[in-house]
Amino acid sequence: MLNYILRRLLLAVPLTLAVVTLLFVLVELAPGNAADKFFTPETPPEVRELIEKKWGLDRPAHERYFLMMKNIMLSADFGRSMVQEKPVTEIIAETLPNTVVLSLVTLLVVFVVGVLLGTIQAVRKYGLTDNVITAVSLFFYSMPEFWLALMLMLVFALKLKWLPASGMYDVVLYEYLTPLARIQDRLMHLVLPGLALGIAHSAGTARYMRSSLLEVVGQDYIRTARAKGVSERRVVFRHAMRNALIPVITLMGLSLPVMFSGSVIVESIFAWPGMGRLIITAIHTQDVPLLAACFFFFAVLVVLGNLLADVMYAVVDPRIRFS
């Protein structure tokens, strides 16, 4: 098992190198250079030179490429933010955990809701319940996350006032709350972003779970279990579920990039201080080092997530480990 994980980790190294390379190429191809926003046509050339020197823009491209590669790969140094004047890694360190928390909650929603709906559909195959859930899933599957987020916000936060509309915690009251109330406050703030991100993906997962379970239920060992008189509930949840979940786990690993795409939107709507909101800020302020770092960490998160999915896959299905 350890061997397998190590092998997979080694495969992730060239992937990260490629991310950095792609990033460099994109930054180079972009019109103008990263420091252009500091200048007006009236800027004296010597000031321009000084500023470009400060950001290392006066060196030739290949030198900058190797420097960037060296800094990122060896010392995780992304330079300093051009706007906030502090190391980019510091800014990322504040926001990365928030995104991870939101993603984990979303994954939980997706897994529980998706698997549950899919199972109900498979058990009631071609029945009314199945058809209704299929139609509703298709509807939610085709829904833009930003719109769902806005509508959830409109209904549950602005009209009904059940849930807070934005942020990670109540800005005014948080300081005065007891520890227990603080946890409750944070959980309440998680509900809407988690749902907005989770619902669309649950629809896809349910669809997948349904077909996966139907495929497993058709196999011989299930017929054997039924023949020897195992109750239907036990057949579905103990015998069939285990094998049906294997492809669903892979799907969840593969849908990670899609989920991070969604988190960019949901975070910026609900003012969630995570990586998604950060990358938007970086774009609007033209903060190239910060933008680059955000891009890099998103890619690394995906690589790690896929690695985790692979490991999970190997845990639930021993056949994988030895091939």
């Binding site: 191809l29 298709l138 719109w147 669809r207 349904r210 939107i265 990358i279 774009i283 998103f298 995906v302």
Partner: protein, 381 residues
């Protein structure tokens, strides 16, 4: 199938023939399409002169109304063609004499969701192309009605804070959103098919590198990648729209490429490819003329499903204010406009979202139907 006298009704009113002979989904679909055509006629005819020749004194000329005029006749011809097909089916075509596409069409017609999806997509295409006739007002004209009025009979989808007619804005937005989705998918489908076919055909080290690159692109969050590129290149003016199309196209080809590669791996061992190779055909000719045409079915399916996805990504970009640069507005940017007034004028954000859902659902339903008809192996159940 013998000609049913009731089906002849379709020659007068397309759709009625289908409806009377029990084909409800096609009947209703065609009647709706006829409705849009008539609506365009009623709304467009009185002002057709000013539409086709805006400020005629200055020699004004607008392309879009002319396209609309042409497509009006095109859609009408299409409707009556299908009504006639239904009224007088070709009798002597046995199963053996049908072409492969006719067989696919037969299979497709059995799929209820697919046919509904097709009619929805046709409706969307009609609305998009006929917009100049259908839209009651200029989308950018201020104060065509009272400001901030809620949906009413005279303004079906209300007005915004500048008194612009939301229905017209949404119709014109549809044109941009759907064209971007369509064009981007044409790019990604073509690129993906060629990439996958090359990868599968050449094999060996070339294949390893190309597959690795595909997997690499696949593991990037699409929106993050697109955002980064857009953020670095900062599109502006009318050229911005092409950059968006290009970027969306070049970040959505991986699915097609994987499928085509898989197919080509088995196709290239078949005799006709071996023969072409023995005759000394160039690899480029083999790939373009022999391999890709044989792998076109899954490409079509994937492209159709991709349209929905691309519309969603474009809408997200525009929503974040980083899509098609203003003053052009798309569904996504209209939702963004409505965000400010979410509490007081919720219809501004609500309607474009519903339209996106409708468009994406239609393309997904059509894609699922096509998949079932074109390739039984890909069927989900």
């Amino acid at each position: 199938m013998s000609a049913d006298p009731k089906a002849r009704m379709g020659l007068v009113v397309p759709g009625l023939g289908h409806l009377l002979t029990g084909d409800v989904k096609n009947g209703v679909g065609m009647l709706l399409e006829l409705g849009v055509l008539l609506l365009a006629l009623v709304l467009g005819l009185p002002r057709i002169g000013s539409l086709l020749f805006p400020d005629a004194s200055a020699g004004g000329f607008a392309l879009h109304p002319w396209v609309a005029l042409l497509s009006w006749f095109g859609f009408a011809a299409l409707l009556w063609y299908f009504a006639r097909q239904h009224a007088q089916p070709d009798k002597n075509v046995s199963r053996e004499n049908q072409s492969q596409w006719q067989l696919v069409w037969r299979q497709f017609k059995k799929n209820r969701m697919g046919v509904i999806g097709l009619h929805c997509v046709v409706l969307l295409a009609m609305v998009t192309l006929l917009t100049p006739f259908l839209a009651p007002h200029d989308p950018d004209l201020l104060d065509v009605g009272p400001q901030k009025s809620s949906p009413s009979l005279s303004f079906l989808m209300g007005t915004d804070e500048f008194g612009r007619d939301m229905l017209s804005r949404l119709l014109y937005g549809a044109r941009i959103s759907l064209s971007i989705g369509f064009l981007a998918v044409v790019i990604s489908g073509t690129f993906g098919a060629i990439w996958g076919a090359m990868s599968g055909y050449f094999g060996g080290r070339v294949d390893t590198v190309m597959v690795w690159l595909t997997d690499f692109m696949l593991s990037m969050p699409r929106l993050v990648l697109v955002l980064t590129i857009v953020g670095l290149f900062r599109p502006s003016g009318a050229g911005g729209i092409y950059l968006i199309v290009l970027v969306l196209g070049l970040t959505g080809w991986m699915g097609v490429s994987r499928i085509v590669r898989g197919l080509v791996l088995s196709l290239k061992e078949q005799d006709f490819i071996q023969a072409a190779r023995a005759l000394g055909q160039q690899p480029s000719i083999i790939i373009l003329k022999h391999l890709i045409p044989n792998a076109i079915a899954p490409v079509i399916v994937h492209a159709t499903l991709g349209v929905g996805n691309t519309i969603l990504t474009e809408a997200a970009l525009s929503f974040l204010g980083l899509g098609v640069p203003p003053p052009i507005s798309t569904w996504g940017s209209i939702v963004n406009d409505g965000r400010e007034f979410l509490r007081t004028l919720p219809w501004i954000a609500a309607f474009p979202g519903l339209l996106i859902v409708f468009a994406v659902t239609s393309f997904n339903m059509l894609g699922d139907g096509l998949r079932d008809a074109l390739d039984p192996k890909l069927r989900s159940r």
